[in-house]
């Protein structure tokens, strides 16, 4: 037997909505039910992942100098850190499922104003995923099996629906590319050349640029895989470079709202330019 929901136990509802968002939500005919959340903490390990390049993106950057010395690196490579990505997606999926489970207990139609927090914990190396939002129900309508989720709330959600789009789910993509610098990349990152080859001139750091480009492309592909034929709306791409023991790691995270067109809308008439006669 499942435990009765907080609302059923206390008779009151809760939400994370601001006053404005609450008013707009009520105006849409949605009733806030409860502040719901799901969280998960995961650690990762590369055991069982195989050698870099065994799975996912891998690219070699050979040394152009030939044999220089025994400690001269013959090649560098970029590799997708699939074990880290899998841990990341596993954690996010677990947190998301818990959020949905809680919303289902309230017989919600959806969870709006979702906030996603991803935080690295230092020891042990782990990531904490925390998703929260407000479960809502459409008054006078039976609850569906799978509630929708969206980062939007209030007026933004209202405008989305008026524009003919239905919120489907939050979409999040993540990719991590590690860089083991080649000799050329290492010289460029240190800003020096060798006695033989002189100072490193101004030039593009190809290996690092490829890592950044691939991380962005992989994150976008991950999100695209979640979309089916739906549209990704109001996306935000965040890229960070993390210094790790083996070299820099490039992490790209893309978040957005998966939405589905449910009706066609006429193009808006050209807007009228106005000048507001108000001092700022």
């Amino acid at each position: 037997m499942t435990e009765p929901s907080r609302t059923a136990r206390t008779g009151a509802w809760s939400s994370a909505l601001s006053t404005n968002d609450f008013a707009a939500t009520r105006a849409m005919g949605l009733q806030p039910l409860a502040f719901v959340q799901g969280c998960s903490v995961v650690s990762w390990g590369f055991l069982g992942a195989g050698a870099p390049g065994a799975r996912g993106y891998y690219e070699q950057f050979p040394c152009p100098h030939g044999f220089v010395s025994a400690d001269h690196r013959l090649y560098g490579y970029n590799y997708e850190q699939t074990w880290l990505e899998e841990a990341w997606f596993g954690g996010l999926r677990a947190a998301y499922d818990r959020l949905l489970d809680e919303a289902r207990r309230y017989e919600a139609h959806g969870v709006i104003g979702v906030s996603a927090r991803v935080e690295r914990l230092a020891a042990p190396p782990a990531v904490e995923f925390s998703l929260s939002g407000t479960a809502v129900a459409l008054e006078g309508s039976a609850a569906p099996g799978a509630p929708f989720t969206t980062f939007l709330a209030g007026q933004k959600l209202r405008k989305l629906v008026e524009a003919g789009f239905a919120p489907v789910a939050i979409a999040v993509g993540f990719a991590s590319v590690g860089v083991l610098a080649s000799c050329v990349t290492e010289y460029q990152l240190r800003g020096v050349g060798t006695v033989t080859y002189g100072a490193a001139p101004v030039g593009e750091i190809d290996q690092l640029v490829r890592a950044h480009t691939q991380a962005r492309a992989l994150a976008r592909e991950r999100v695209r895989d979640q979309l089916g034929g739906d549209v990704l709306h109001a996306a935000r791409l965040v890229v960070r470079e993390v210094e790790a023991a083996g070299g820099p790691q490039v992490e790209a995270e893309l978040r957005g709202n998966r939405v589905r067109r449910f009706k066609d809308v006429e193009p808006l008439p050209p807007p009228r330019p106005v000048v507001r006669l108000v001092d700022r």
Binding site: A27, M28, G29, H109, L138, E139, S141, K156, R158, L160, V161, E162, A163, F165, A166, P167, V168, Q188, L189, R190, G191, V192, A199, A200, P201, V202, E204, I205, L208, V209, H212, R216, R220, R224, L227, G228, G229, D230, V231, L232, H233, A234, A235, R236, L237, V239, L254, G256, R260, R261, V265, P267, L268, P270, P271, P273, V274, V275, L277, V278
Partner: protein, 276 residues
């Protein structure tokens, strides 16, 4: 509204439509405005470039009397802007876009490298699959600004930039002592900033002309001493290069509006005092 919402929830039970999904970082307002202007988002696109700066490029020169431009660092910033914009344009073309709007610009100048990252939404005319043969435009203007410019008869051409990194001459010991504790203009820094500004703005305008534009709007400026080399003043500017698309600029004739929703006057304790 409830009816719309019911229809929206009913659509969630149906299978998703077939075909490649469109992705964008546009808001609802921007999407609607873009739709009204006859465009639709095609894909979220990005371009990045990281250029190395040789070791010692920011070093102070003893005995330097005049501001000196740091050629290697300036070249790295300029090259990073150019390469990242080209990559953004290539991604846009691959997605079948006619141009990229709302480009978000991130610039980082480090001791040994410069990074420029661009991210925006590729857009295409409604229903168009692949507008071939046309070089996609790139702009950091919002959709609102883009639509307004189009109505005024202008079209964006490219995201152009200009940069100059200048090392300010160190003050002599005599100057240092004479200026200590005084309200004086630091001539060495003023001249360095002025030099950097003039060079960068000239480069910006030249690159706009090179792109076939007549001017640049919404110029953003970064001008500050570098954190890792306080004697180096960086002046970097970028903006959207425009050209006239119509025969002549169109008058917008904006309507004057006096909003009647001014915020209420704040509580003022003095008004409660009785007149003396």
């Amino acid at each position: 509204m409830s009816e719309d919402l019911r229809a929206a929830l009913a659509a969630l039970g149906a299978p998703p439509p077939a075909g490649r999904a469109a992705t964008s970082d546009l808001s609802v307002d921007e999407s609607l405005l873009l739709h009204g202007a006859g465009f639709e988002p095609a894909d979220l696109v990005s371009g990045v470039s990281i250029q190395s700066i040789p070791f010692g490029s920011f070093g102070a020169v003893v005995g330097q009397r005049e501001p000196v431009e740091l050629a290697a660092a300036t070249e790295a910033v300029t090259g990073a802007f150019r390469a990242s914009a080209e990559r953004l344009r290539a991604e846009c073309a691959a997605a079948g876009g006619a141009g990229v709007v709302g480009v978000d610009v991130e610039l980082g100048i480090g001791r040994l490298a410069v990074q420029v990252s661009l991210c925006g939404t590729a857009v295409r005319p409604l229903g168009a699959r692949r507008p071939g043969g046309v070089r996609p435009f790139v702009t950091d203007l919002s959709v609102q600004d883009y639509v307004l410019l189009a109505r005024a008869g202008f079209e964006p051409v490219d995201l152009v930039s200009g940069a100059s990194l200048v090392a300010a001459p160190l003050r002599s010991l005599r100057q240092l002592v004479a200026q200590a504790g005084q309200n004086v203009e630091l001539d060495n820094l003023t001249r360095a900033l002025q030099d950097a500004r003039e060079r960068a703005m000239e480069r910006l305008q030249r690159s706009a002309l090179g792109a076939g534009a007549t001017g640049v709007v919404d110029v953003s400026i970064l001008d500050a001493p570098l954190g890792h080399a306080r004697h180096v003043l960086a002046f970097v500017c970028y903006g959207t290069a425009l050209r006239l698309a119509a025969e002549r600029p169109r008058r917008l004739e904006p309507e004057l509006v006096l909003p009647l929703d001014d915020p209420a006057r704040a509580f003022e304790a003095r008004s409660l005092r009785t007149a003396r």
